[in-house]
Every structure is written in structure tokens, then in C-alpha cells.
């Protein structure tokens, strides 16, 4: 079972936290800090698994993580999950984000926390893998987007017509999240 999914950047700022086991809020923060501490000091080419921190379960739990440019994606899982399977799941998650946000970067995660949660909830539910087929996931996300557009209706249209992001003074718009080897969807259907 997956106990928690944490995404934070190179400085330890949380960008997504999802706990499938309830922890009090302050403990959640501590877990993020501890995990960041464990993961960030590791070199990039060592293995992607390590024994869990003390706060989140001890020896029976493993942290399985990937580091993409500015972001760490960490899954905390128990011994019943396949390590490599989870590693692939992280890849699927990131590839899905990349498709949804058209070249995802850290800022997308910051400004669209809600969307990221929705995408994640199509992959995992209650700590178990729900769906792994990316085209299936994308279809469902698409359905939701359509619903959202319908509901947005005409009333808010003028507002939205103004490109919100342009007006705002966002300093570093970094598009540097590098995904290893992204194939297009078409390649997947073999």
C-alpha cells in the first residue's frame, strides 16, 4: 500500500502532499521535512529506494523516489508493493502531468494544485493503484475538463479571456523540468 505521496522541490518546499493514512497536520509537515532531509542528500545516480524515515513507519516502509530537474517525487510504500512497479508509476504520473500541462514545470504544480490532485486521484485511490494506462487516465481527465468548460458558461468568459498569467509579474518562469525519454502517446500503442 502507498502510505503517502510527496512532491517537493530542491529546497524542500512542498508542492504536493497526499497522505493515504491520516496524520495530524503538524506531523505531516514534519514528515515532509524528514523525507526531504533523507532524499536530498543522496547523489543522483544511487539507487531510488531507501528505508523509510522514523516518522512514517520505520523498517517495513520504503521511500521510492525520482528526481526530475527541480522536483522530487517520493512515494512511501509498504513491503507489499513492487519497488520497480512504483518507480514506473511515478513515471506514469509525471508523463501524465506532462501531457496535461503541455511540458509540465514546477510552476504548473504551484498554480494548479487542485488539478494535480485530480490527476493523481485517477492514478491512485486510498493508497492503491487505480489505473496505470495513460490513455485511460487522459480520457478521464479530459472528461472532467469538458464538464468544467460547460459549467464555466458565458458569465465568466470575459474575465477569462484576459490572459491571467501575462498580467502578473512572475519572476522565474522556468520550463526546465526534464523528463527522461518522453515518447508520444502514439508510440505506446504497439
Amino acid at each position: 500500500m502507498i502510505k503517502a505521496i510527496l512532491v517537493f522541490n530542491n529546497h524542500g518546499k512542498a508542492r504536493l502532499t497526499k497522505f493515504y493514512v491520516h496524520y495530524p497536520e503538524d506531523l505531516q509537515q514534519q514528515i515532509v521535512r524528514e523525507t526531504y532531509h533523507l532524499v536530498s542528500k543522496r547523489d543522483d545516480n544511487v539507487c531510488n529506494f531507501l528505508e523509510g524515515g522514523t516518522l512514517i513507519g520505520g523498517a517495513d516502509y520504503k521511500l521510492i523516489y525520482r528526481h526530475y530537474a527541480t522536483l522530487y517525487f517520493v512515494f512511501c510504500v509498504d513491503s507489499s508493493e513492487s519497488e520497480l512497479g512504483i518507480l514506473d508509476l511515478i513515471q506514469v504520473f509525471v508523463e501524465t502531468l506532462d501531457k496535461c500541462f503541455e511540458n509540465v514545470c514546477e510552476l504548473d504544480l504551484i498554480f494548479h494544485v487542485d488539478k494535480v490532485h485530480y490527476i493523481l486521484s485517477e492514478l491512485c485511490m486510498g493508497g492503491m493503484v487505480l489505473e496505470t494506462n495513460m490513455s485511460e487516465i487522459l480520457t478521464r481527465v479530459d472528461e472532467q475538463n469538458k464538464l468544467e468548460k460547460q459549467e464555466a458558461g458565458i458569465s465568466t468568459a470575459p474575465q477569462r479571456a484576459v490572459s491571467t498569467l501575462k498580467e502578473m509579474n512572475i519572476p522565474q518562469r522556468i520550463k526546465d523540468i526534464k523528463l527522461p525519454d518522453l515518447p508520444s502517446i502514439g508510440n505506446l500503442k504497439f
Binding site: 512542498a14 504536493l16 493515504y20 491520516h22 497536520e25 509537515q29 544511487v46 539507487c47 531510488n48 531507501l50 523498517a59 517495513d60 516502509y61 513491503s79 507489499s80 513492487s82 519497488e83 520497480l84 512497479g85 518507480l87 514506473d88 513515471q91 501531457k99 496535461c100 500541462f101 503541455e102 504551484i110 498554480f111 494544485v113 487542485d114 488539478k115 490532485h117 490527476i119 485511490m125 486510498g126 493508497g127 492503491m128 493503484v129 487505480l130 489505473e131 496505470t132 494506462n133 495513460m134 490513455s135 485511460e136 478521464r140 479530459d142 472528461e143 472532467q144 475538463n145 464538464l147 468544467e148 459549467e151 464555466a152 465568466t156 477569462r160 502578473m168 519572476p171 505506446l188 504497439f190
Partner: protein, 956 residues
């Protein structure tokens, strides 16, 4: 292609940018507080907010929460959003609730009502949202509300695939949290058949659910094995073309394959030949595919392929029956050991650990020893090195122990701090387990202390002392070696402890050599004295008093040290007390008394190594098999001879001596938090030193043979009687308060028993009018004949008095005799009442019988009232050795080779009473997966069966 961004909420984006532009933490907090105030006033304001606004504010709160600030409002608004007709509003409401609302919130009733409405919605997206919320929170209230509905949704033919998927996982959560509220028995066969579902996503979710259900009730879900095998077969052998989009980087449905292979690990290898062949074929295909050239150079391809491969290997190891597959698996892992991917090396080491415990593949694993040692030395990643240590430990046997221990010691000098303590424990265990020659063992442990003294825990040095004391062939060597080690200019305090203890006991064995004459030994030890902690100094004082007995010629020098003002007025009570008492003892007592009091320590009772217990505690999650290096059956004869020589220090633990001499809580009774420093194996002398108080827990192995040494500070306020601990053992402390400690030592033969009760006065004042009496409640009076011997009515401060109780068992009984004690303590009458550990099983004597006799007798006792059976959850460890110890302690013999299933225990004994003898047969079937036992007792008398069954249940 969905593009989710673009039409965001402007206010939210502005707020986030503001935060990001904050130059300092203070500015950020200020901005956040301003926003929180704003949102709060908006929520409280008269103007009704529309859905869009509510949604925007809730999103802001989520963002603030993510930054690490507590959110204490907005919950009600989120709940309101749930009942909105707009999907986007509903969605954000659910998101807020699953992130910020725990299962115990007051709002849960409202949330549940909203979920109820959404579950029956015609829009599947709404249904899914509701189920996600249930799966995230999964409280008992939710299980009560939905435990009946969701199974229907899952198996109904009308439900669409995506809803089925969610329903399976939603149910899984409820079953895990509140199994009692989700009756799944009726659904078993329909749930199993989801394995045949068209949609691969549904199958993946269903396998997870079935796995959890099978764990709880494996019989009901047995049917899933053949379905899982055939589904797996269709995927891996690719006769199945309808993989939809579930091919991931050229690997067909890797997640589903992994899940199926994992599910099969909850069951033994299939019995049905067809199913079994099909499974073997699958596993072979997976192994074959690993040898094929990769279809893609992408790391995702090899990851997915290997995920399946590793799970297949785990299944092969779990079935542990096909030597061919096991060896192939081992070779495959061997290849991975040298792979350039660190992940694969890590996993290969981990899986090989399991393989090393199988008799079929143990030798194959050993071939890779060199590679593993190289990994230990050269891997850059500490996680991988840790796995290498684990594997070396698991693959160690008699043939390679010396080399492995040597390598581990060498590595220890540079090892990472994080794994040193565990490595020390492992080296200590291996050295003990595989020592052919105990001088090697002593050398190894002393090296261990020299190299990694700080990481050598108490257990390790206690253990080396136990072994040296119990084996006289090594005592001289140990004294000599430890003496030499102490000559190093800087030696670790643990070395001083071991040295002090061993020289105090066996210094005389090397005193003949002028280089280690008594005076030299004493001066050497005393030169370390001032560098040591108080606990070690206490121990050294005991060594000195032992020297007084061993070497009368240096008594004046020792008395001089004891007389030192620093000791006689030491701030540490224990140190002071020892100095005063030892000084007094050395001046007052005659040589005969000295020789008796300071006699060599008697051998320690054999028991499971406390080091092993410590290691197990450090790694609770690990499999038992990998923890304990397993005695692998080797057929060649030459090892058998060494085996008997070395098996000696590990005889099956004797129940009567299972008391923890060193005051470490015994591993067989994890619940026992009060260390029992109970009388040693030899008779129970009255404590000559009158030193009943102030014994600190750190120096329990004090060389002076103290008798009862209670440890105040440990639960001293609670007056608990430890009755149930005495079902399987006869000696120990049965009662303890601040005032009084009562120890018991019991012996039983046939229908007679003798109980020694030892009353220790822990206070500074005498007890007077001390009057114990024994009551036999109910009909017990006619069943037991109890004779209480008289004793003195006064117990001096710090003294211990003994009382004998004789017991004759007339007929079998159920009640328990009660001991009443009353006494005066500083003018106040005190009363104590406790149950005496006299149970019907104490009068059982073990008998041996062969399989035929056992089953013949078993069948003879087949009347319904002769049998008593209980099925219950394990309360303690299910480790086979521990269970065995308990059964033997219970009074029964554990019969070998009688039950076809080696996991089960069958036992026999005869109960002696004056009226009759009752034959007792027992069968205990542990189910480790479910953590359950089935216990069956058959005796010629129904009431006995029932009572024995009850008693035994309390011990498991």
C-alpha cells in the same frame, strides 16, 4: 489531448504570485494572515458567495495549508460545496475534505449525507468523486453507512468499468479499516470472478481487493488461485491479444502481472497439476524473457520487465518446491549483482537474501559470495551496502562463517554510522552460532569491541560473558586475551567491562605468569578506573572484591582502594554502597564465608541469545527466516561432526531456567516490562549483603552473586501479580510493590509439588507480624492438599525470608489457591493477596510416543466432551522455537515427525493426580498469515481438556 490550465482562477493566481514575490518569511506570513482574514470575513459576511467564489477561497486555503500553515476554518464552506450541482465545485469540496478533514470530524455526518446522494447519481463522475472520498477517509462511520452498498455496486452488471474500479478500491479501504462492518462472505465467488473481467483496470483493482480479503480469510478465496494463474498465463505467454493500452514500453500489463504474482504468494503452490504446470510455464517464460535482448533501450522498458521478473522470483522463493526454478532464479539474480543499474543490484541483493534460506538454492547463492563482498566494499550507496550486509548474514553457514565474519569485521572499521550497530549484532550472532572453536569466538567479539566499541550494545558483551562462564575450556584463554587487550593504551569502556568481569571470575587462571600476576592484573584494571563511567566503576569494585577472594595476597591494596574517600562518600549511592559493603565484607568475613559469597558464578541457563532478540526488535518488519541464519541441511558427512560439537551451546531452551538472569526482558514474554532479576540457578541464599535496594539497572551482571535483586524504578508503584506468566514456567518474581517483592521457585513431581516463596523486604524498616496463609476457594479444598510451613513473623529491612509450601494434587481442579499476606509496616497494617501459580498443568509429565501410537490414542479420545478446541488470534510472537519452549514449559513433550505439516505441533503428557492419571494430547496449528491459532486438546476427562485449553490460550 487535455490541457488543464489556462482558465484558472485569477484571484488565486494573484495571491500565489504575491506569496512567491515575498522577500522574507515575515512578509510571507503577513501576506498569508491578510488573506486568511479576508477569506474569513468573506465567509462570515452577509453577502452570499456564489460557487465560483467559494471554490476560489477554498483553493487559496489549500495552498496556504500546503505552505505549512494550519487551517482552522472553511470546513463548513467545503461541505456546502459538496451539495452543489456543479461538478467543479463539488470536486473542490471533496478535495478540501480529503486533505483537511480527518475521519473524526463533527462534520462527518453531513459529508456522509452528501456522499450518499452522489453515490446514487446518474453521472458516473459524481459517483467516482464520492467513492474517492470514502477511500481517502475510510472511517468507521463510513463503513457503517456504505459497507452494504458498495459491494453491490462492484458486482452489478450495470456498473461501468471506471466505477467498478473505484468501488473495488473503496471497498478495500473499508475492509482494511473495519472488517467487521463489511460482510464479504456472501460476495466471495462474485468478487473472485472479477479476475475474468474484460477491462484490465478493473482486474488490477480487483486483485488488490482480493489480496486483502484472502489475507483475512484465505479459505473463502482459494478459488482465486486458478483464475489468477490463467489470467497471468494469458498475459505473459501473449496468447492474449486484447491488451487494450495496457502494454507499457513493450511489456504487457506489467502492474497487473506483478499484482497477480503477489496475490499467488498468499497461497501454497497449487495442488492441481494442470494449474501448477501452467504456473510453472508462466514463471519459466518470465525467466526466459529476461534473457532476450531488450526491445527498447529506455529505462522504463527494463524497469517494467524486471518488476515482473522480481515478483516472479519472489513467488518461486515462496513456493520453495521447484529446485530447477530456484536455481534459475538465483543465476538470474547473480547476473543482476553485476548490473550497471544500482536499483537492480539493490533488488538482487534483497531477493537473494530470501533465496539463501531455501535449502535448494542455498549453495547456489554461496557461489556469489565474492561478488557480494566486493559490493560491500565498493558500492557507493549505503542502502545497497546495507543489503549486502543482510545477504552475507543470510548466506553464512559453517563452511564460510570465518571468512564472512572476517570481511564484516574489516568493513566495520569504515562502515557507515547508520548501519554499524546492526552489523555488530550480526557479527556477534554469526560468531557465536558458527564457532567451532570458542577461542575464535572470544577473539572475534573482543575485536568487535576494539573496532566498534561505541556500537557494541549491552547484549553483546553480556553474551560473551555468559558463554565464557558456561564453557570452562575457554575461560583461561579468555582471561589471557582480555588481559592483553586491556594493555592497549586506549581501550573502549566495554572492553574494561568485559575485562573486569572475566578477570574477576577467572583471573586466577593466568595469575601463574609473572607478567599477569594478581598485582599486575589489579593495577591494570585500576589504571582504567578513573576513565570509566559510574556503572563500570561499580562493576570494577565487584571485580576487586572478587580479587580479595582469589588473591588474598593483594587484599591490603584493594582495601586501600575501597577505603578511598571518593568511594565511601561517592554521590552515586550504588557505588558508595558497594565500597562500604565490600570493605566491610573483606574485613569482617572469614575466608570460608568469603569463598562462599564470592564463589565463581554458576553457569547461566541456556536460552535464546538476547542479541538475536535485539536484532529482531530492530527489524520488526523483516521476515523471520532471514533474521535467523538458518541451519541449512547439508548432506555431506563431515559437517555433521562439527555440527554436534557446536550445537551444544544451543540446546532447546529449558523452561525451568527461562528466567532472565541478566535482567533483560526475556524475548518469550515481550509483555514483561519489569525485568525479573530472579534468583540464580543455585539455591536461594539469603542476601548476605542485605543489599536489596539501590541496584541500578545498568550493572545487573555484577560479579557478586546477589540473590534477589529487585529493580526499583520499574513499575514499582503497580502491585501486579504475574500469575499468567507462570503457566509455562516455575521460577520468577510473581509480585512486586515498593514495599515487598515475592519470588517463587517451584518443583513438581507426579502429583506432588513444592513451592518456595521468597519474601523480600524492600524498605528501610522491618516488617512485623508477617503472616501468610493460603486459601483454597470453593471445591478446591477437596482437590488440593496444601501444607504451609511456618516462618518467622519478622522480616528485617532489606532481608529476604523463605517459606515452603507443599502441595498434593488429589484430583483435577480449576480454581486457583490464593495467598493472603498481612504484615505491619511502620505501624500500618498491610494486606496483600495473590494467586499462587499452581495450575492443573503443573502435574503433567511429558511422554514420548510415535506417530502410530499418537493417532491411535487421539482416535480413542474422540467423544465430544473429551475434546476442547479454540481458535484465536496470536497475542505473542509466532516463532516456532518460542512456541515450542512454551509447550515444553507447559509440561508436554513436543512430538517430532507426527503431524504431516511441520508447522503444527503435537504434544503428549500424562497428568498425575492422587485419584487417577489423565492422558493429555494436544495439537496446535498456527496460521502465520492470519496470525491465528487453532488449539485442540483431548484428554480422557472433559473438564481437564477445557481447563488446559484455557490455560494454553493465555500463553500464545
Amino acid at each position: 489531448m487535455p490541457a488543464v490550465k489556462g482558465d484558472g482562477m485569477r484571484g488565486l493566481a494573484v495571491f500565489i504570485s504575491d506569496i512567491r514575490n515575498c522577500k522574507s518569511k515575515e512578509a510571507e506570513v503577513k501576506r498569508i494572515n491578510k488573506e486568511l482574514a479576508n477569506i474569513r470575513s468573506k465567509f462570515k459576511g452577509d453577502k452570499t458567495l456564489d460557487g465560483y467564489q467559494k471554490k476560489k477561497y477554498v483553493c487559496k486555503l489549500l495552498f496556504i495549508f500546503l505552505l505549512g500553515h494550519d487551517i482552522d476554518f472553511g470546513h463548513m464552506e467545503a461541505v456546502n460545496l459538496l451539495s452543489s450541482n456543479k461538478y467543479t465545485e463539488k470536486q473542490i469540496g471533496y478535495l478540501f475534505i480529503s486533505v483537511l478533514v480527518g475521519g473524526t470530524s463533527d462534520l462527518m455526518k453531513l459529508v456522509i449525507q452528501s456522499i450518499k446522494n452522489d453515490l446514487v447519481s446518474r453521472n458516473p463522475v459524481h459517483v467516482n468523486l464520492a467513492m474517492q472520498c470514502i477511500a481517502n477517509i475510510g472511517s468507521r462511520e463510513m463503513a457503517e453507512a456504505f459497507g452494504g452498498e458498495i459491494p453491490k455496486l462492484l458486482v452489478s452488471g450495470d456498473t461501468i468499468d471506471s466505477v467498478k474500479q473505484s468501488a473495488a478500491l473503496c471497498l478495500l479501504k473499508l475492509v482494511r479499516r473495519s472488517p467487521d462492518l463489511v460482510p464479504m462472505a456472501d460476495w466471495a465467488s462474485r468478487v473472485i470472478h472479477l479476475l475474468n473481467d474484460q477491462h484490465m483496470g478493473v482486474v488490477t483493482a480487483a486483485v488488490s481487493l482480493i489480496e486483502t480479503l484472502a489475507k483475512k480469510n484465505s479459505d473463502d478465496y482459494k478459488g482465486c488461485v486458478s483464475l489468477a494463474v490463467s489470467r497471468l498465463s494469458r498475459i505473459v505467454t501473449s496468447s492474449y491479444t486484447d491488451l487494450q493500452d495496457y502494454t507499457y514500453y513493450f511489456v504487457p500489463a506489467p502492474w497487473l502481472s506483478v499484482k497477480l504474482l503477489h496475490l499467488l504468494q498468499y497461497y501454497p503452490a497449487p495442488e492441481d497439476a494442470t494449474v501448477r504446470n501452467r504456473l510453472t510455464e508462466c514463471l519459466e517464460t518470465i525467466l526466459n524473457k529476461a534473457q532476450e535482448p531488450p526491445k527498447s533501450k529506455k529505462v522504463q522498458h527494463s524497469n517494467a520487465k524486471n518488476a515482473v521478473l522480481f515478483e516472479a522470483i519472489n513467488l518461486i522463493i515462496h513456493m520453495d518446491c521447484d529446485a530447477n526454478l530456484l536455481v534459475r532464479a538465483c543465476n538470474q539474480l547473480g547476473q543482476f549483482l553485476q548490473h550497471r543499474e544500482t536499483n537492480l543490484r539493490y533488488l538482487a541483493l534483497e531477493s537473494m537474501c530470501l533465496l539463501a534460506t531455501s535449502e535448494f538454492s542455498h549453495d547456489a547463492v554461496k557461489k556469489h559470495q565474492e561478488t557480494v563482498i566486493t559490493a560491500l566494499k565498493t558500492e557507493r550507496d549505503v542502502s545497497v551496502r546495507q543489503r549486502a550486509v543482510d545477504l552475507l548474514y543470510a548466506m553464512c553457514d559453517r563452511s564460510n562463517a570465518e571468512e564472512i565474519v572476517l570481511e564484516m569485521l574489516a568493513y566495520l572499521e569504515t562502515a557507515d554510522y547508520s548501519i554499524r550497530e546492526e552489523m555488530v549484532l550480526k557479527v556477534a550472532i554469526l560468531a557465536e552460532k558458527y564457532a567451532v572453536d570458542y577461542t575464535w569466538y572470544v577473539d572475534t567479539i573482543l575485536n568487535l569491541i576494539r573496532i566498534a566499541g561505541d556500537y557494541v550494545s549491552e547484549e553483546v558483551w553480556y553474551r560473551v560473558i555468559q558463554i565464557v562462564i558456561n564453557r570452562d575450556d575457554v575461560q583461561g584463554y579468555a582471561a589471557k586475551t582480555v588481559f592483553e587487550a586491556l594493555q592497549a593504551p586506549a581501550c573502549h569502556e566495554n572492553m574494561v567491562k568485559v575485562g573486569g568481569y572475566i578477570l574477576g571470575e577467572f583471573g586466577n587462571l593466568i595469575a601463574g605468569d609473572p607478567r599477569s600476576s594478581p598485582m599486575v592484573q589489579f593495577q591494570l584494571l585500576h589504571s582504567k578506573f578513573h576513565l570509566c563511567s559510574v556503572a563500570t566503576r561499580q562493576l570494577l569494585l565487584s571485580t576487586y572484591i572478587k580479587f580479595v577472594n582469589l588473591f588474598p595476597e593483594i587484599k591490603p591494596q584493594i582495601q586501600q582502594v575501597l577505603q578511598n574517600e571518593n568511594h565511601l562518600r561517592n554521590a552515586d549511592v550504588e557505588l558508595q554502597q558497594r565500597a562500604v559493603e565490600y570493605l566491610q565484607l573483606s574485613t569482617v568475613a572469614s575466608t570460608d564465608v568469603l569463598a562462599t559469597v564470592l564463589e565463581e558464578m554458576p553457569p547461566f541457563p541456556e536460552r535464546e541469545s538476547s542479541i538475536l532478540a535485539k536484532l529482531k526488535k530492530k527489524q520488526p518488519g523483516k521476515l523471520k527466516e532471514t533474521m535467523e541464519p538458518r541451519e541449512v541441511k547439508v548432506s555431506s558427512n563431515h559437517t555433521d561432526t562439527t555440527h554436534t560439537a557446536v550445537a551444544e551451546p544451543h540446546p532447546p531452551p529449558q523452561p525451568t531456567s527461562a528466567i532472565d538472569l541478566l535482567g533483560l526482558s526475556s524475548p518469550t514474554q515481550p509483555s514483561n516490562s519489569v525485568p525479573n532479576s530472579t534468583p540464580g540457578g543455585t539455591g536461594l541464599l539469603i542476601d548476605v549483603l542485605g543489599d536489596l535496594s539501590g541496584e541500578s539497572s545498568t550493572d545487573v551482571p555484577s560479579s557478586v552473586q546477589k540473590t534477589v535483586t529487585p529493580t526499583p524504578g520499574f513499575g514499582s508503584v503497580l502491585a501486579t501479580d504475574h500469575f499468567s506468566k507462570f503457566v509455562c514456567k516455575n521460577n520468577g518474581v510473581i509480585f512486586e510493590t515498593d514495599l515487598l517483592q515475592i519470588g517463587v521457585k517451584a518443583e513438581f513431581r507426579q502429583n506432588l509439588g513444592r513451592l518456595g516463596l521468597f519474601y523480600g523486604n524492600k524498605t528501610a524498616f522491618a516488617f512485623t507480624s508477617f503472616l501468610p496463609s493460603v486459601e483454597t476457594p470453593g471445591c478446591l479444598e477437596s482437590q488440593l492438599n496444601i501444607q504451609v510451613k511456618p516462618m518467622d513473623a519478622a522480616i528485617e529491612s532489606g532481608a529476604q525470608k523463605q517459606q515452603m509450601v507443599n502441595i498434593e494434587c488429589i484430583s483435577d481442579f480449576i480454581e486457583v489457591p490464593v495467598l493472603h499476606i498481612q504484615f505491619m509496616y511502620s505501624g500500618v497494617l498491610q494486606r496483600v493477596q495473590l494467586r499462587l501459580p499452581v495450575m492443573v498443568n503443573k502435574f503433567i509429565e511429558a511422554t514420548e510416543m510415535d506417530m502410530a501410537t499418537f493417532f491411535q490414542r487421539w482416535k480413542m479420545l474422540s467423544q465430544p466432551d473429551q475434546e476442547s478446541q479454540k481458535i484465536f488470534k496470536a497475542k505473542n510472537s509466532m516463532d516456532g522455537e518460542q512456541i515450542k519452549t512454551k509447550l515444553i514449559g507447559f509440561g508436554l513433550s513436543v512430538l517430532q515427525n507426527v503431524d504431516p505439516n511441520p508447522e503444527n505441533f503435537v504434544c503428549a503428557g500424562i497428568m498425575h493426580t492422587k485419584m487417577a492419571q489423565v492422558g493429555c494430547l494436544m495439537r496446535l496449528e498456527p496460521n502465520k498469515q492470519a496470525q491465528m491459532y487453532r488449539l485442540t486438546l483431548r484428554t480422557s476427562k472433559g473438564s481437564v481438556s477445557q481447563r488446559l485449553c484455557e490455560l494454553m490460550e493465555t500463553q500464545l
